[in-house]
């Protein structure tokens, strides 16, 4: 089942959205890059596939903005990996992004499906 992974199911993420998802993932604890990608993928039911070429630039960008910080640690398999965790500033940023996202998605949903909601 690895090969025919349906391209049709994958959605290109907007940059800001990816940042938010990464921060959201890190909310539950520190994680390395691979782990973050896996978490987003499984959390979205394999719909959201994060490209390495987007993930690592995003991680390094977030770190430069000091929303996350990193640390080298041993992973569960006794392998060294770079773990990222949220900073206080990152937490604040995440909650701001989150409420914006909620507003935005509600508004889009309203526009797209005017009958169903409210």
């Amino acid at each position: 089942m690895p090969k025919p992974e349906g391209y049709k199911n994958r959605i290109e993420l907007l940059q800001g959205t990816l940042d938010m998802l990464i921060l959201q993932t890190l909310r539950w604890g520190s994680q390395h890059g691979y782990g973050i990608a896996q978490a987003i993928r499984s959390g979205s039911g394999d719909v959201l596939q994060v490209e390495t070429g987007s993930l690592y630039p995003a991680l390094h960008r977030l770190e430069k903005q000091e929303w996350i910080r990193s640390e080298w640690r041993s992973s569960e398999h006794n392998q060294r990996a770079k773990y990222y965790e949220l900073t206080d500033a990152g937490r604040t940023h995440l909650s701001a992004q989150h409420s914006r996202w909620t507003q935005l998605s509600a508004a889009i949903a309203n526009l797209m499906e005017p009958g169903e909601q409210s």
Binding site: P2, K3, H32, G33, Y34, G35, Q38, E51, T52, G53, Y56, P57, L59, H60, R61, K64, S75, H77, Q79, R80, A81, K82
Partner: protein, 876 residues
């Protein structure tokens, strides 16, 4: 982020690699754990991962670059470019080094001679009082105490007047340190107070020392050299000439007197009247013009007062001048100021030329790189970044040029000071040029300006380039008409500037040659001058006369010496004697009397010097019994006797230097005119008296005409002197032509430098033309190929390239010739006596630059002619 980051970057790169690797391994491990075949898993992960290098680069891109890193990048980029174009870099750096170095060296000279303010309080208020006979250089140094007193009482413009007399040959004896000749100043009591100086040690001379107390203030240098800065120097004694003085203080470190050209060793109160140099301090807010009118009034009284005591017939022509003394006494400024200013201007032109040259070369290079630039613009490089990169490159070049220029300047300063110090003893300028903040600032400013100047042109061109055009397959269209015209006008400007430089070079070199070949009335080559100092051992009168006659005999016998004579002084030595003459029985009005130069010469003097004897005879040793005879020169003969025969007539000399009584001399000969003191002399009135007179000799310098290089008989002459007169030291041997060279120091300096600059300018213009044509030919290879394919002959192609060269050069010449004329006019304002060969000089310059242009276009033209149509068209 900071500079630190620059050095952490390597570590960050490693960590990024490690991080991506760990991602890779984690992914594979997970797939294997899910039960995939390891090799399958790895391939899948690889596919999923995508382009490793791209991931890595995009991630690195997120780190961002701070300013330092970008500058560092730019610098490295520029350095790579410089290494890749070694020829260009070498030419650029060396022409900048010469331009900046020459300017810095000349500016340090200008600064030391013209600008450096005296280290005294409010130097801008200081003025000096000078006297001038019409047609002669102005002089300070012949004022009396009576004058000082009078001006102090009656002037309104000055808050104070002070002065000093200078003894340049004072014998200084310091207790344990022995004798040396130094410079002593005899100062008025208010000297130090009015200059606002504070002692480095002890006290300075004050009003209480006015009437010649036996005290002295020594210079910091003397204190250092002789007393090793021992504070116990106070109270020690120093003997100056005959007087024993107590040292009461040390002058401040940077104060070495008011002269630019010499450093004073010691100051002592002026006891008696001497020839004083006067300086005055302008009252606050008073202009120097007020002081001038005021002094002109007061000076009339001085003249009247002197006229009562003096019989100097020209006294009433004497004028007073008031000149600013902020940078020291004006003597050296009067002599060197104008030549130095002109050298500064010429070297400035050279620097501008070097800048234009670099600008045009960088422009051509920039146009050659238009594709690269356009590509980078297209890939998102900001124009600002490209501009900065171009400027970084030019600033880096100018920085390297400045560093090399510092070396050039350093050795240049050494050379200049040596040339300037090669003047005659009485006029010798011992300049003390140190690296000073002002000079360094000047050099740095020059470097920065040049960098910006030649960097802006290509940057401007880079900014204007249109990516879409430049990326067209031929890749050469970015080179717009405007840019091409700009490049050509840069080269034309170089041509015109180099004509200005060549014109100046030719002008000053011909001026020097003119001076060197001027008829001085004697033959200047193959003459050795041997000077002895008989003042020491106490040999006098008859004894000395005998000794000198024996010496003369032996000098005549030295192999290589054709004949020898004696003269005091020798021509153009810079010292002389003079008096007034009247013909016996012919009355003369006092105001018609003129100075006559007097020389005491030995037998066969005129034959030795190559001066023609027009009538009568030379002196012989037999004349000793009848010493009152004279030989006059032809100017004097025609002035005094008109068409009559002067032989046998008598001339009365009075006011002769060093003689009290007038005396009459019988004229026994008439000699051709010859120069006496200077290489340019308006009036050559000369009279010659016998050096050997009854029982006496006016001991002068032995004049040896040689058949061989005169330097090569110097050793024999010294040996002869040591044998015959072991107690009389030979103080100096030199050639007459060297002695004459010493009188034209500024001219030599100007000719040497302007000639050098002219060569450099022509070389740079040649490089500029070559660079432009080489670039044009490279750019037009396709076109040339097509032309040839369509039947153009190789000669036609060569003609096309030469035509372009001639068009540019012609434009430059058209602008350069009027500019050079204007430059010559300016030079003539500064140096009134420049010869009038201007047209020839400038035409010569234009012809020279045309030759350079043709030479420079040879290689590009041949390259163009060698274009193979097939090869060149295949590129399209």
């Amino acid at each position: 982020m900071s500079l630190r980051n620059l050095f952490q970057r390597r570590k960050m790169d490693q960590e990024l690699d490690e991080e991506l690797q760990s991602h890779f391994h984690l992914a594979i491990r997970e797939r294997i754990e899910r039960g995939e075949d390891p090799r399958e898993a790895e391939r899948a992960v690889r596919r999923e991962f995508g382009n490793y290098a791209l991931v890595r680069e995009t991630t690195r891109g997120q780190w961002g670059w701070n300013l330092w890193e970008e500058i560092w990048q730019d610098a490295r980029y520029a350095l790579r470019g410089m290494r890749a174009n070694r020829g260009f870099t070498v030419v650029a750096v060396s022409s900048l080094a010469l331009g900046i170095g020459a300017n810095t060296a000349i500016f340090s000279l200008v600064y030391a001679v013209l600008l450096r303010p005296l280290p005294v309080s409010h130097p801008e208020q200081l003025v000096e009082l000078l006297q001038r006979y019409p047609g002669e250089p102005r002089r300070n140094g012949s004022w009396t105490l009576r004058d000082v007193e009078y001006y102090r009482q009656h002037n309104h413009a000055f808050s104070a007047i002070t002065g000093m007399a200078i003894d340049n040959l004072a014998e200084l004896r310091i207790e344990e340190a022995g004798m040396r000749v130094g410079i002593a100043e005899y100062v008025l009591g208010n000297y130090f107070a009015e200059l606002g100086l504070r002692p480095a040690l002890g006290r300075l001379i004050g009003q209480q020392d006015e009437k010649g107390s036996a005290v002295a203030v020594i210079s910091w240098d003397l204190w250092t050299a002789r007393f090793h800065r021992d504070p116990a120097v106070l109270g020690k004694r120093v003997q100056v000439d005959k007087a024993s003085l107590e040292i009461i203080g040390v002058a401040p470190r940077d104060f070495t007197g008011l002269r630019i050209e010499a450093k004073t060793d010691l100051w002592t109160p002026a006891g008696q009247d001497r020839g004083f140099h006067l300086i005055a301090r302008l009252k606050h807010g008073n202009a120097i013009t007020q002081a001038r009118t005021g002094m002109a009034q007061l000076f009339r009284f001085t003249i009247e007062e002197r006229a009562a005591r003096s019989s100097d017939p020209q006294l009433r022509q004497l004028r007073v001048e008031v000149e600013t003394c902020a940078a020291g006494f004006s003597t050296v400024r009067d002599r060197m100021g104008n030549p130095l200013t002109m050298l500064m201007a010429i070297s400035g032109v050279l620097l501008v030329l070097a800048c234009l040259n670099l600008a045009s070369m960088m422009l051509a290079r920039g146009a050659g790189r238009a594709r690269e630039m356009a590509l980078r613009l297209g890939l998102g490089a900001s124009r600002g970044r490209l501009l900065r990169q171009s400027l970084t490159e030019s600033l880096l070049l100018s920085g390297a040029g400045t560093l090399a220029g510092a070396i050039v300047a350093w050795s240049g300063i050494g050379l200049f000071t040596r040339i300037i110090a090669s003047g005659r003893p009485a006029e010798r300028i011992q300049l003390d040029i140190q690296p000073e903040a002002t000079v360094l600032l000047f050099a740095a400013g020059a470097a920065l300006l040049t960098g910006l100047f030649f960097g802006l042109a290509p940057a401007w061109a880079a900014l204007r380039s249109l990516p879409a055009c430049a990326l067209r397959p031929s890749g050469k269209a970015a080179d717009t008409r405007g840019n091409r015209f700009f490049g050509k006008s840069l080269v034309a400007a170089q041509v015109s500037l180099s004509i200005v430089l060549l014109g100046a070079g030719v002008l000053f070199i011909t001026h020097l040659l003119h001076l060197r070949s001027a008829d001085l009335g004697f033959r200047r080559d193959y003459i050795l001058l041997v000077n002895l100092d008989p003042s020491g051992p106490g040999i006098r009168g008859e004894q000395l006369s005998q000794l000198y006659q024996r010496l003369l005999e032996r000098m005549n016998e030295i192999p290589g010496v054709r004949m020898a004579s004696l003269s005091a002084p020798t021509p153009l030595h810079g010292a002389g004697a003079s008096g007034f003459g009247t013909v016996e029985g012919v009355p003369q009005r006092p105001e018609d009397r003129r100075w006559i130069s007097i020389s005491w010469v030995g037998p066969r003097y005129f034959e030795t010097m190559g001066t023609p004897l027009l009538a009568g005879r030379e002196f012989t040793l037999r004349d000793q019994s009848n010493p009152r005879i004279a030989i006059i020169n032809s100017t004097l003969a025609s002035q005094y006797f008109g068409g009559q025969d002067p032989l046998g007539r008598r001339i009365i000399l009075d006011h002769v230097t060093g003689m009290r009584e007038p005396a009459a001399y019988e004229i026994v000969g008439v000699a051709g005119d010859a120069n006496y003191m200077e290489i340019r002399e308006k009036e050559r009135r000369g009279i010659f008296l016998p050096a050997f007179r009854a029982g006496r000799v006016t001991a002068g310098t032995f004049v040896l005409r040689t058949d061989i290089n005169p330097h090569s008989v110097a050793a024999s002459a010294q040996r002869v002197a040591a044998e015959v007169a072991p107690s009389i030291p030979v103080t100096n041997t030199t050639t007459l032509s060297d002695q004459i060279e010493a009188t034209i120091v500024p001219e030599r300096l100007m000719a040497m430098l302007s000639g050098f600059f002219a060569l450099l300018g022509a070389l740079l213009a040649g490089i500029g033309i070559y660079g432009l044509l080489a670039y044009t030919v490279a750019r037009r290879t396709n076109e040339i190929g097509i032309r040839m394919a369509l039947g153009a002959s190789r000669n036609g192609i060569v003609r096309m390239v030469l035509q372009e060269a001639l068009a540019i050069t012609g434009a430059g010449v058209a602008i350069g010739i009027p500019a050079a004329f204007w430059g010559h006019k300016l030079a003539a304002v500064f140096l009134a006596e420049l010869s009038t060969t201007h047209v020839a000089a400038i035409l010569l310059a234009a012809v020279a630059i045309l030759a350079v242009a043709l030479l420079a276009s040879c290689i590009p033209a041949r390259r163009a002619a060698a274009v193979d149509p097939m090869v060149s068209l295949r590129h399209e």
